[in-house]
Symmetry: C2
Subunit: 483 residues, 2 copies
């Protein structure tokens, strides 16, 4: 390896040395995003935004398959509307930016920039919904929202962030609960299948639920440093907002009733999860389904064989481009070694090398980003081989992350052991909990760990006791320190 190349790779802080710095290094070096001149804000650069476009396209497709329609509501919410639901405004008020003037004029009423859009959307629903025939209403919007958080971190917690928010209204409580769980399942399957990130679906505790919800569900993932990340949430809002915003419908039995509601969202923090679940010391590792570039072709030219190699490389790029997202790196000013490092850092799942000897043998060299495995394969039938390898990379990344999650999920028998695991190895800790928020809060204050969720499966206690108070456990839950 030439000196220049070694230095190039060295620019990324090793994960083991400083995970936080490694994370930021990957974001900046792989050109995913940059810091913006607004507190806690980032600019999503083309490579990062292309990942977001892939997330959007696939999630949107899965939403629409369940009957979701997209719409767009204003970013401004008048103070009187944002303040209508008491718990909701209490939860968001400290983080809300207010527009107070336009040009040189003071506004008669302050306008909030949306932290989430329940209030303004429900205000409209109260006008649109009259009869049971108008139900269900199942809308989603792709937009940005703003929350002025104290500690910010690119993709994970930024002042402004890109997300989608779904908002529904239903005729019955059962239908609303079914939609809440249906969307949780959409998130679970999307995150596992498209992003290759294993998650634990479950219900949030009363303390951790959304401001204004009856029940909040989440999917929780485990990052490479053993901290958990809430990857998406789905809320059953009950009739709370419906009462406050007076969203009623005439049912077929002639009765005027309040609707039952849900909301659910996922944001660009999923990109943060991708980095922290799959990345390594060489940089980003992207699952093929979400990778903006799935195959990079690096021609290895000699003075003698330059034209032929380049011509064949272009032909391969064109052929592969019919089925895959392909990039031909024919920059002349960079060496092949430099390019290898560069594309590895950017997480491209598969590299295809083509030199004069490969050309003569009608072969190419394929190098997997995840394992570094290198194989020579025939150019004949290449598309099918590439498809297989990409599928295999997708599967391997998921299995590797799943193994990591399993190996870093521990059951503990005492509070001391709980604290020791948190200090030494982090990860998820399965433990009994009495169901009281006093214990939950005490654990959080004493250890920094929160209950991530009460899992949909396996939360039934079998003789466990509460980690903190020793009373019989009501649920077996997942604890972790979290982003």
């Amino acid at each position: 390896m030439a000196k220049e190349e070694k230095e190039f790779v060295k620019e990324i802080t090793p994960r083991s040395q400083d995970f936080s710095q490694w994370y930021v290094d990957v974001i900046l070096k792989a050109d995913l995003a940059d810091y913006a001149p607004v507190r806690g804000s980032i600019v999503m650069k083309p490579y990062g935004y292309a990942i977001w476009e892939s997330i959007q396209a696939e999630l949107d497709r899965r939403f629409k398959a369940t009957g979701v329609q997209n719409a767009y509501f204003p970013m401004f919410i008048p103070e009187s509307i944002l303040s209508k639901e008491a718990e909701h405004i209490e939860g968001f008020a400290p983080e809300v930016p207010w527009v107070t003037e336009v040009g040189k004029e003071k506004l008669p009423e302050r306008l909030a920039i949306r932290p989430t859009s329940e209030t303004i959307i429900h205000y409209m629903y109260s006008q649109w919904i009259q009869s049971w025939r108008d139900l269900p209403v199942v809308l989603n919007q792709w937009c940005s929202v703003v929350r002025w958080e104290k500690a910010t971190r690119p993709f994970l917690r930024t002042t402004e962030f890109l997300w989608q928010e779904g908002h529904t209204a239903h005729r019955t409580e059962e239908e609303a609960e079914a939609r809440t769980l249906q969307m949780l399942e959409v998130y679970r399957s999307f995150v596992q299948e498209h992003l290759a990130i294993p998650v634990i679906p479950g219900r949030k505790t009363e303390t951790e639920k959304f401001a204004g919800a009856v029940r909040t569900y989440s999917i929780e993932a485990l990052m490479g440093d053993g901290k958990a990340l809430q990857a998406a949430t789905s809320h059953n809002l009950g009739q709370g907002f419906a009462r406050v915003f007076d969203i009623t419908f005439l049912d077929s039995d002639g009765q005027l009733k309040h609707v039952w509601q849900t909301s659910w969202g996922a944001s660009h923090r999923l990109i943060g999860a991708l980095i922290m679940v799959h990345g390594d010391d060489r940089g980003l590792v992207l699952p093929p389904r979400v990778a903006p570039i799935q195959v990079v072709i690096v021609p290895i030219t000699t003075k003698k064989a330059k034209d032929e190699v380049l011509e064949r490389a272009r032909q391969l790029a064109q052929d592969l481009g019919k089925r895959f997202r392909v990039k031909l790196d024919d920059r002349e000013e960079q060496s092949p070694g430099w390019k290898f490092n560069d594309w590895e850092m950017r997480g491209v799942p598969l590299r295809l090398e083509l030199g004069p000897r490969d050309l003569a043998a009608n072969e190419v060299v394929l190098v997997r980003r995840d394992s570094g495995e290198k194989i020579s394969v025939s150019q004949t039938g290449l598309l099918d081989v590439v498809a297989e390898v990409l599928e295999s990379v997708q599967e391997s990344l998921f299995l590797k992350a799943k193994r990591f999650l399993e190996e870093n999920t521990r059951s503990v028998s005492s509070y001391d052991e709980f604290k020791r695991v948190l200090e030494e190895r982090r990860g998820f800790i399965r433990a009994g909990w009495c169901g009281e928020s006093t214990c939950e809060r005490a654990i959080k204050e004493e250890t920094g760990a929160t209950i991530r969720n009460i899992p949909l499966e396996g939360s039934e206690p079998h003789g466990e006791t509460c980690l903190h108070c020793g009373q019989p456990a009501r649920h077996v839950v997942y604890f972790a320190r979290a982003y």
Copy 2:
């Protein structure tokens, strides 16, 4: 026609009676949008948003084919950055909303909500661009922006609006001008081919150009009431912003130089144009390429033949759904006649009727929204026939709009005639102009007409004189009253 149906159609004010009211009626009745509880703002409802999604998808595809990449920049622009370019801030200042506080805290510096993003994007470009190898930078973002306009109108001029804004940086002046014209051509071909709206591409006068641009180009369309609408703009920014934001690069000759820049945008006002160019007294008329629903299937059931008709209708919906965007309207509570009116109002290009007699004859009835023409065709080979009819509707709508534009474009020989045409018939008026902004302003004040643009073709004078001062014309230009 039953009484109920007649009343239903009557709800839309006739175009000839009150074009403005007709426009708003169509938007509200066709469920494209609704008024929001924020001054001058609308909610885009699913049907309107689906049109926007089609516009986005097709325009985005055409952008990317020219090398455009998407990115995302923050909506907040610190006052110090927005104010850097003098003409720019002067142009936008009166319309800018300011965030002055967050929660209960005053901000140290006011943050503008972006009216457009030249300033914050150029601020980032100054950090990203170092060498000629970094050029060109050709980025676009899809987002919403805010301008606090005095008179608002759904889709055409709203406080917050959805749009895309492209921002580029180039090595040479020629390359920037070529990109400016290339994007104008992307807009022209997109609007004509996808939206079936004929436009006049040309250059804006000094008075009408974008705040901070060297040259602004536009495409101008003619609405059904004879008023013009600027459908998209493309700006050559020269080096003005580059100097202010210090965007320099080291060229291959070793010299440090300022980049040359462009910006270009189109917004959801294109939906307003669709309504006003193609709509009629029955409501919306959508060109098939942009229509969220291209074919609506209305089964006409009798008690005896209900199941068979519905089953066949479902089968047809499935078959047609493979190639077209299809809706089966099998609502039981509405009559076929009611449905016909409803889908006509919503502008669905093609209606397919299927009754017991059609079933027996292996036929369906096709009814075109644009002409009302009704034909019986065989169910065998239906997909190809539907494809042909939709193509024909697309073409007819464009030709009809083109004829309207041509018939409403007049050359005048005197200022009196000019004023008479504006009063009586509006439309575009081709006339000579001396090139002085004094004449341009006087005409605007006296008649309300502005120079829409100096057309790319045919602006060379052949003996014409200026409409206002009588001096030899420098250009032959298009005048109109405009939205």
